[in-house]
């Protein structure tokens, strides 16, 4: 048997199955369970990464029909470059997170059983692998549900808290409404293939069909709705900020980093691979939704003080950025400009893997904070850079990457996206000529707001003084996280750097995917000047070298360091934020709410804000208040706009239907009797 990427993938899946099978053996010994299962999962993920990279590199799709499956419909698997790329992304992050989990889950040992955490964690990763591998609608949906259900139980892990149960329920509802739409979409596509029985449900049959525009549109809209619910496109994003903080941090890293990407995979697969021919307005719609999602996502993120909620909203923003790229790719493809479409898609893929790396890293960092301080609210932290140097450095790297600053990876993908915007020639549509520059401007605004958001996240959490009520509960050194967690965070940080300084190589590796999907390549121009320089379309237009920027940054930092340390007197250590006023307390610091206040003033109309200020005056005189109470509550407007009306009207309808249920057997019998009579009259 010749070794091929698909066989390597089997190996990974078998290893996951083996891990799950091992769990019952160690259920009694929780520590051993953690030490056995998570390393095994990380090996399985690493194997999947190998398979993914390999399959993208050799660029020959492999497909196989399994002998198991539903009656009349065996399951189909296929590993082509597109699946290979997402397999790589999912595998990479699962690899890091599994290492991290070995350390993180030790925190649960002795407190609660992690047995079902391990089982659902493994099933969750297996589900994500299978989603990108499946090649027929049924198997896709089965894997999709496996992923959704497993992650539901992971969100429910700490189920003694009511907000966790509510978050999990909300997640389940949104996930299932989405899955229903996806099912319907595949039904439409399968019906349009015109094949008998179930053979129309294979993706292969859909690929070979020319869909009439009407049905293609219906299928696309349904699929887009369904995948949007999973990806968290506004206004379907409401489950993200609830579910991510509820889940254990390693799980939120996976959910945010890669599970959202499976939805992106689904959109790309259905649009570019199954339907293939599409009108312009789809792209415009996706672009507009992407812009709204990006800008609203980051604005909501800035308003949050809970670090994991903030990261969840930031994921919404990143999904928006990815959708912008997909929208551009659809527009360019419908105008038959394959090179620009390929450029946009490359930006999409690059941003997908980037977001998986840095968002995974940031969630793991938030997990480290939670692990050490048992707090989620940034306003109760502060000054942690002194206690957790590793975590703070790694969190800083994540923040720089997500803020799209060189030399890290976030810059590359956003830069590519800007190139796609800027290089777009004037298209033959006045609306688009208006939309595209506006989109570029909004994307720029988003990028700036992201930077503001993460300055806040890092500054409030790690700089300044400890803000908590109990003054440093923390011994100075005992707070830093253990080594598996550190390694789990160091590796994605390294990946952020590598993806940031070697973009030309990465783009060359994944160029085949966009070639296959939109028939355009950019690697010949992008890597025309070797691995050092990235020149997406032509070197006269734009070029960037991550390595050289990195080198310069290092040189400057070294110079500054040397210059400062040559003179002993240049550095003074004084109390923080003292400003000469000596009676300052940690509670006088700038905090998270005050940091975001200017933005709250400008964009306040987008939120449902309730601010309360109350003075409690002393007995001496009203001019000398001794206490000031400040309450701030910010809520998502979409609850009131969309979700509350829907839930209330469905309650109203169910109450009306509840009237039918009288409790009298006779009434029920009359219902069936009348039904029979009416049917008989009509059937005559």
């Amino acid at each position: 048997m010749n070794l091929s990427p698909l066989i390597v993938t089997y190996l990974s899946l078998f290893l996951i199955a083996f891990t799950i099978a091992l769990v019952p053996l160690f259920a009694k010994h929780q520590k051993i369970l953690i030490y056995v299962s998570f390393p095994l999962m990380s090996i399985a993920s690493a194997i999947a990464v190998v398979a993914g990279i390999w399959s993208v590199a050799i660029d020959t799709p492999e497909s196989v029909t399994l002998s198991i499956g539903l009656p009349d419909l065996p399951f189909h698997l296929r590993l082509d470059p597109l699946s290979g790329f997402f397999l790589t992304t999912i595998g990479l992050l699962s690899f890091f997170v599994s290492i991290y989990s070995t350390g993180y889950c030790k925190g649960y040992a002795g407190k609660r059983s992690v047995t079902h955490l391990v089982i659902f964690y493994s099933l969750f990763i297996a589900g994500m692998f299978l989603v990108v591998l499946s090649d027929d609608a049924f198997f896709f949906l089965i894997s999709w549900e496996l992923m959704a259900i497993a992650s539901y139980f992971l969100v429910m892990f700490e189920d003694e808290l009511i907000e966790n149960r509510r978050a999990a329920f909300l997640y389940l509802v949104v996930a299932h409404i989405g899955a229903l739409a996806i099912l319907l979409s595949f039904g439409v596509l399968a019906g349009a293939t015109g094949l008998e029985s179930f053979s129309g449900y294979t993706f292969d049959a859909m690929r070979q069909t020319e869909f009439p525009l009407k049905w293609a549109t219906v299928a696309f809209l349904l699929a887009f709705f369904g995948f949007s619910a999973k990806a968290g496109v506004i206004p379907l994003h409401v489950w993200l900020p609830e579910a991510h903080p509820a889940a254990p941090s390693n799980v939120s890293a996976l959910m945010s980093g890669v599970m959202l990407k499976t939805a992106i995979y689904g959109i790309i697969r259905v649009t570019f691979d199954l339907i293939r021919v599409f009108p312009l307005w789809w792209g415009a719609m996706v672009l507009i939704l992407g812009l709204i999602t990006a800008i609203m996502g980051i604005l909501y993120a800035i308003m949050q003080n809970d670090i994991k909620r903030m990261l969840a909203y930031s994921s919404v923003e990143n999904i928006g950025v990815i959708l912008i790229g997909i929208g551009l790719a659809i527009i360019f493809t419908s105008f038959h400009i394959p090179v620009l479409a390929a450029l946009s898609l490359t930006a999409v893929f690059y941003h997908s893997i980037n977001h998986a790396m840095f968002k995974g890293l940031l969630f793991m960092g938030a997990g480290a904070l939670l692990h050490a301080t048992h707090k989620k609210n940034m306003d109760e932290m502060g000054g942690l850079i002194h206690y957790m140097p590793w975590t703070s450095t790694l969190f800083l790297i994540g923040s720089i990457s997500i803020s799209a600053l060189p030399p890290f990876n976030g810059f590359i993908s956003e830069w590519l996206l800007f190139q796609a915007f800027l290089l777009s020639p004037s298209l033959n549509s006045p609306l688009l000529n208006l939309l595209i520059p506006m989109g570029a401007a909004l994307l720029a605004l988003t990028a700036a707001l992201v930077a503001a958001c993460f300055v806040k996240a890092f500054g409030i959490t790690f700089l300044g003084h400890w803000r908590g009520h109990h003054h440093p509960p923390l011994q100075k050194m005992g707070l830093e996280v253990n080594w598996p967690m550190r390694i789990g965070m160091i590796l994605p940080a390294l990946m952020c750097l590598i993806l940031g300084i070697l973009p030309a190589m990465v783009i060359e590796w994944m160029d085949k995917i966009s070639d296959e999907l939109v028939g355009g390549k950019i690697a010949t121009t992008a890597g025309a000047f070797g691995w050092l320089w990235l020149t997406p379309v032509a070197h006269e237009r734009a070029s960037y070298s991550g390595a050289i920027v990195f080198l310069w940054i290092i040189v400057v930092v070294m110079l500054v360091y040397i210059l400062l340390h040559i003179r002993k007197t240049a550095i003074h250590r004084v109390p923080l934020w003292d400003c000469g006023f000596e009676k300052i307390t940690p509670r006088m610091q700038y905090n998270a709410a005050s940091f975001s206040m200017p933005i709250r003033r400008i964009f306040g109309f987008l939120f449902n804000i309730r601010e309360q200020v109350r003075l409690s005056t002393s007995t001496i005189s009203p001019s000398f208040p001794n206490r000031l109470y400040y309450r701030l509550r910010i809520r998502d407007r979409f609850w009131g706009w969309i979700y509350r009306p829907i839930s209330e009207s469905s309650y109203w309808i169910s109450r009306k239907f509840g009237r039918l249920q009288q409790g009298y057997i006779h009434v029920y019998l009359i219902y069936s009797f009348i039904t029979i009579i009416i049917l008989l009259i009509f059937a005559r």
Partner: protein
């Protein structure tokens, strides 16, 4: 016995079945109901045997014997036994508005004739004229279930409904395959046992066999 005569006798049986159905609808006494039900089963059994003779399909004799054994002897016996156990043999059920129920029943019979008219024109079977009666028996059984309050009478209504279905099967198609009939017969028997168990359960829960008590099970809103 000529075919014509057989058809005549069968029609008489159909008329008697319909008559017992109306009897079931308005009879107030438990014992009276039980007897009427047994009579209906007997007519059904005779009718089945006649149809079996006319059509030459001999498995209908087995059906006929099964009907006789189950619906004339065994099930009335079981119900009788239950009534004794539950001390309800003397109870007289209060019926609301007998004339109205009778009028609805007559309307249903007319409706059944109206419904089966097209089938009668198409069919060539000797028994085709009785199909309307069979349908009417089903509907009257259902009507009985709707109008009665006592659990036992509801069960009898249900069994009468099943009689109608069986009659429809023999009169419309000369009977179902034997396997199906055996299965149905077994189902009825098991149903009778389950009803028996439920009677005891309902009795212990509500201290009564009046199904109106079950409104207590409804959730408050």
């Amino acid at each position: 016995m000529s075919i014509n005569l057989a058809a005549q006798v069968n029609s008489i049986m159909a008329a008697l079945i319909l008559l017992t159905s109306f009897g079931l609808l308005v009879q107030r006494r438990m014992y009276g109901l039980l007897h009427l039900f047994a009579w209906q089963g007997l007519f059904l059994s005779i009718s089945t045997a006649i149809v079996g003779y006319v059509s030459g399909s001999h498995h209908l004799y087995i059906s006929s014997i099964l009907t006789l054994a189950l619906k004339v002897i065994l099930i009335p016996y079981i119900l009788h036994f239950l009534m004794k156990q539950l001390h309800i043999h003397k109870e007289v059920e209060q019926l609301v508005n007998v004339p109205t129920i009778m009028l609805i029943g007559i309307a249903l019979v007319i409706f059944s004739y109206y419904l089966t008219a097209p089938i009668r024109e198409l069919s060539t079977l000797v028994t085709r004229s009785t199909l309307a009666v069979a349908l009417a028996t089903v509907m009257l059984g259902l009507l009985m279930m709707i109008t009665r309050r006592h659990a036992v009478t509801q069960i009898i209504g249900f069994l009468a409904l099943e009689n109608g279905l069986f009659f429809a099967a023999t009169s419309a198609t000369y009977g179902m395959p034997l396997v199906v009939e055996l299965g149905v017969a077994l189902d009825i028997l098991i149903a009778a046992f389950i009803f028996g168990i439920f009677f005891f359960q309902i009795r212990t829960t509500f201290d009564s066999l009046d199904v109106e008590q079950m409104t207590k099970l409804k959730e408050e809103d």
